[in-house]
């Protein structure tokens, strides 16, 4: 492999905490790797198990549910 | 007979303070006349680059 492994991670972020926290990380200019693709949800409890399974089966290397 | 007061307010100054006062009054059912000396509202805050502690853009 000529390139280093770059995982694709799907993130489900609760609008009221994790998403707000991710916004704050931006405001604070905290740097982190650009591999996560954020999806805003109104509560982490909204994330149906099928969404996680489908994400993994369609090629995601990881799924983060944050809330 | 006491005359009812007029339901309009004049706000002099279109900076951040004047604008907030105007918005609050307009949202509470008063007619607002906002008078600004220069050609546009915004005041000194519009001239600032960023604001602390969040370092958000002042615009």
């Amino acid at each position: 492999m000529s390139e280093s492994f770059e995982p694709v991670i799907i993130g489900f972020l609760c609008n009221w905490c994790a998403y707000a926290g991710a916004d704050l990380a931006g405001v604070s200019r905290l740097q982190y790797p650009p591999n996560m693709r954020p999806i805003r949800v109104m509560c982490s409890g909204m994330v149906h198990p099928d969404l996680v399974v489908n994400a993994l089966s369609k090629g995601a290397d990881g799924v983060l549910v944050m809330g | 007979m006491k005359q009812d007061p007029c339901g309009s307010v004049l706000v002099v100054g279109g900076g951040v303070a004047g604008m907030q006062a105007a918005l609050d009054l307009a949202d509470s059912g008063y007619r607002v006349h906002l008078v600004e000396r220069t050609a546009a509202i915004g005041g000194a805050m519009a001239q600032l680059d960023k604001t602390f502690p969040t370092n958000d853009c002042a615009m």
Binding site: G26 | V35, G42
Partner: protein, 939 residues
């Protein structure tokens, strides 16, 4: 009305006639489309006041790019035609014929019930202070000029360069208190209150603006005044990031090498003369009342104080000396943005209070066009990519994202904007929606948490449903957090846009539910803040329930002898309590707490526990004013000797034993007891002024008394600086100590003795003390129960967290809740009262509506529901019930959701195995589409 000034006011409260002079704009606002051709063709260049004179603009101009109204104007002092009668180039090129040289000055008279004066401040002009070399040394700039140098819409597009050679400065000095706290060289003895913090901000932001980020910043100061909420942490972070804080006042500035930069001479703390060269020097200029404010005060017939600001009292902090005229912003006193925004709401509240019977009599509703029905149309998507000045564009290749967005399905239009949130871009978006028949919009910019409502409103104005917009958060969750990796950040931005496009294609128009607003308020806390909030709401005509935990109203104010203005507190406090108790719209409950609360803005329900009995209440908005208290010191032998007192104990003793000071010879104050320490890192804001006031009171009682104040930084901000100057003039000795070398207190037999290291001699100083007064920190009263009930938040220190520290300083993050007084942050009486009235004003905005629209993000039942009821129990809000419905002649079981109770959390949707219940705007399909789009490799 722009370009306008008030020239005359007559009449009285309820009925003023105001004469306003409007200067000619020479541009027809109706016709101007802000295309900018007039400015492009205008041959006359003028120093640009918006850029503090550092850039040029034309005589035909807009003040700045995001100006409101975005209409050009012609500057009659510089326009060649208006001054010399020839040119008219702009007129020839204007495509809409908007140039109107025959425009003349107009005078209009309006009738209003009240006036709010907010003419702002002007920055101190340092030209007269030749020691700083301003005007003589090119690389010495004022803080306002520096702010423009940093700004992305400034003269150098946000690339920081110094004036002399346009090179990046690598070593920058800030000199504090230029035009403030100075009785010799200028007329501004007060502290401007904001310069310490803006200098620290500029020092920190500078690092972000320079390539490589390596820069040396030094701030020359007298006292660092970081007395605001979260300010001390910001100051500490600046120290950690390497900003040098030098307590010295440079006495001379000389030209640097080859006339560039500047050499500063100052005397260090240990008495050594130092010469140090800097690439650039920023003068932290103070705020002062502008000349225009004096003219305005004259026209309004209101008095000014000795500093030139409007005269007000601590108990009516925004009320001018003429009834019906209110003042706010920096014209009231020098202040920062949160304070200005707070007191703007205070002034609005006072005006609303004065005119309560006339509410609604003159108001006009904002009307929106009828919504275009897009439900059965194919998606036609418009994508707007924001550069956010340099915030996004510095990291993300915005152009590449724009090009990429063109290739996505259904995308009909892609545009890039410098600031997508600016008013002119909003108009542009609305125009493009109509022009191109767009029916779905993607905004790739900042976070929907702050900006989605703005864009939703734009969609409404363009005649489409507000829920047809999606935002791709390429700033907070991309550009700002991946600053080192432009390529990957750009890839991520493309992915984010693709995900948003995939989702928005599935967005459906949604209806907002209306709820009736319960036009009654709850105020929790019966201290000076709570009582003022209750009175201000009740005077606007809203019934108020005032809940106090203890058995009497008044709170901390009972223990306070005078306000910082010197006005006695007790008579005012007693009058306030009488008014509250007598007010027909206020119900007071003492020994009462809120035991339960539910509901949302406009419609809360709760249970009050009043002395053991419970009663149900309903309210549309609430003000939390639960207060704070003086903490118990745990050091300096506190509690081991009756002569060691806190501020409140000293005040109490002086009340009971007025003869005590005459019998004493020496009193020592120690500041920052329990504040600005690792375990309680905030500044308690009120203690420095309290000490100075107490010291003056002691000197008054016994002029021979020796008074020592051991302090870290004296924070007598604003007009309070005069008290500090007065105390020094009367012989109070101020000795600075550091956190690393705190004073020691010993008891030898009956004698109290305090030892402190003298900063100038560098040697320990032993001071005998008849009384030792500890300036104990203010700590918030516990409010965890309210936090849990309302799901609002507190910061690490236990103070309620406002919705936005600058722009929504009295709103809590939960809509319909407002905060006032010490539970927000320690503050003096006048600021507590101002904030209480501001909270009442903001709550009044909610209560003035008859009905309120709820968000449309709610659960809904699909035809796949078979009534299995798995979701009923998981719903945390009891918003789902099972019902039986007739279908095709037989009874079937189905669930039904209650949109008023539903919060849109979607636990039901995630629980349902059949897709029988979903949340609008976040359906399984929509989320699935985002996942798929995220995983489809970017081209």
């Amino acid at each position: 009305m722009t370009l306008s000034e008030v020239v005359h006011v007559s009449g009285s409260l309820g009925n003023f006639q105001v004469t306003i002079r409007q200067k000619p704009r020479y541009v027809d606002m109706e016709k101007c489309i802000a295309c900018g051709l007039c400015a492009e063709k205008c041959p006359k260049k003028v120093d640009d006041p918006f850029n503090a004179g550092m850039g040029k603009r034309k005589a035909a101009y807009i003040p700045y790019g995001q100006a409101v109204p975005l209409k050009y104007a012609i500057d009659p002092q510089h326009c060649i035609y208006l001054t010399r009668g020839k040119c008219r180039a702009c007129e020839k090129f204007c495509p809409t014929g908007a140039i109107h040289f025959e425009d003349t000055e107009r005078t209009v008279t309006v009738t209003v019930g009240a006036v709010i004066a907010a003419p702002g401040f002007e920055a101190f002009h340092p030209q007269g202070l030749d020691v700083y070399g301003y005007g003589r040394l090119r690389d010495v700039v004022t803080s306002m000029e520096y702010e423009r140098l940093l700004a992305s819409n400034g003269p150098h597009m946000g690339h920081l360069v110094r004036p002399s050679d346009h090179e990046e400065p690598k070593k920058i000095a800030w000199i504090q208190c230029v035009g403030s706290r100075n009785i010799n060289r200028c007329d501004n003895p007060y502290c401007s209150s904001v310069c310490c913090m803006y200098a620290i901000k500029q020092a920190l932001v500078t690092a972000e603006h320079l390539s490589g980020g390596d820069v040396e910043q030094a701030i020359f100061y007298m006292d660092i005044r970081s007395h605001g909420k979260e300010f001390e942490r910001y100051y500490e972070s600046a120290k950690e990031k390497g900003v040098r804080f030098i307590q010295a006042r440079p006495h001379s500035l000389f030209p640097g090498d080859k006339g560039k930069g500047a050499v500063l001479e100052y005397v260090s703390r240990d008495g050594r003369p130092v010469r140090e060269a800097f690439d650039m020097v920023v003068l932290s200029v103070g705020l002062q009342a502008p000349r225009t404010a004096q003219e305005l005060a004259q026209a309004l017939g209101i008095q000014l104080n000795e500093s030139g600001f409007a005269r007000t009292s601590a108990f009516e902090p925004v009320t001018a000396t003429h009834p019906g005229i209110f003042v706010t912003g920096a014209f009231q006193s020098p202040k920062d943005i949160p304070q200005a925004v707070t007191e703007a709401s205070t002034a609005a509240c006072e005006a609303a209070r004065a005119l309560a019977p006339a509410r609604g009599s003159q108001a006009r509703e904002k009307t929106y066009p009828v919504e275009r029905d897009v439900r059965h149309q194919e998606p036609v998507i418009g994508v707007f990519v924001c550069s956010c000045g340099i915030n996004i564009a510095n990291t993300v290749d915005v152009q590449a994202v724009v090009e990429y967005a063109h290739t996505l399905p259904h995308v009909a239009l892609v545009e890039n904007n410098l600031f997508t949130c600016s008013a002119d871009t909003q108009n542009l978006i609305a125009q493009k929606i109509k022009e191109h028949g767009l029916n779905r919009i993607v905004i790739a910019a900042c976070t929907p948490r702050t900006h989605e409502p703005l864009f939703q409103d734009t969609l409404r104005e363009a005649g489409i449903n507000p829920y047809l917009v999606e935002m791709a958060n390429i700033r907070n969750q991309n550009a700002w957090v991946h600053q080192q990796d432009r390529e990957k950040a750009t890839e991520k931005a493309k992915d984010q846009v693709r995900m948003a496009v995939a989702k928005v294609a599935l967005n459906e128009p949604l209806e907002r539910l209306k709820v009736n607003v319960i036009q009654q308020a709850l105020v929790i806390g019966g201290g000076i803040a709570g009582m003022n909030a209750a009175l201000a709401l009740a005077d606007q005509g809203f019934p108020v329930i005032l809940v106090e935990k203890s058995d009497r109203l008044g709170g901390n104010a009972w223990k306070l002898p005078t306000a910082d203005t010197g006005e006695p507190v007790q008579p005012q406090l007693e009058a306030t309590i009488r008014k509250v108790n007598a007010h027909p719209h206020i119900t007071v409950h003492t020994r009462a707490t809120l035991a339960q609360a539910s509901g949302s803005v406009g419609n809360f329900q709760g249970i009050l526990d009043v002395d053991g009995t419970q009663q149900e209440i309903r309210f549309g908005a609430a003000v939390l004013a639960t207060g704070a208290r003086e903490s118990q010191p745990v050091e300096y032998l506190y509690g081991q000797d009756p002569r060691i007192l806190t501020h409140q104990q000293l005040d109490e003793m002086l009340q009971k034993r007025p003869e005590a000071p005459a019998q004493a010879r020496s009193v020592v104050f120690i500041q920052c007891v329990g504040s600005r320490e690792p375990q309680r890192p905030y500044c308690s804001r009120v203690c420095c002024t309290h000490t100075v006031k107490a010291a003056l009171r002691l000197k008054e009682a016994n002029p021979d008394l020796d008074i020592y104040v051991l302090y870290r930084d004296m924070r007598t901000y604003g007009e309070r600086e005069r008290l500090y100057q007065e105390a020094r003039r009367r012989g109070v000795l101020f000795i600075q100590y550091s956190l690393e070398d705190k004073p020691q207190v010993e008891k030898n037999g009956q004698d109290l003795c305090v030892t402190v290291t003298d900063p100038i001699l560098g040697r320990p100083l032993k001071i005998p003390a008849d009384y030792l007064v500890l300036a104990a920190a203010m700590e918030p009263n516990p409010a965890q129960d309210l936090v849990e009930m309302f799901k609002c938040g507190t910061n690490e220190d236990g103070f309620f967290t406002e919705a936005h520290p600058k722009l929504r300083p009295v709103d809590l993050s939960v809509d319909g809740l407002f905060v006032a007084g010490l539970c927000h942050y320690p503050k003096p009486l006048d600021e507590s009262i101002a904030q209480a009235k501001a909270a009442a004003g903001r709550a009044g905005v909610v209560l003035a509506q008859d009905e309120m629209r709820l968000d449309a993000i709610k659960s809904f039942v699909t035809d796949k529901c078979d009534g299995c009821a798995l979701c009923v129990d998981v719903c945390p809000y009891q918003a789902i019930r099972l019902e039986s419905v007739e279908e095709g002649g037989r009874a079937v079981r189905r669930i039904a959701t209650d949109p008023a109770l539903c919060k849109g959390c979607g636990l039901c949707a995630a629980t349902c195995p059949k897709g029988g219940v979903m949340v609008h705007g976040f359906t399984l399909n929509q989320l699935e589409a985002q996942v798929e789009a995220a995983l489809a490799k970017a081209v």
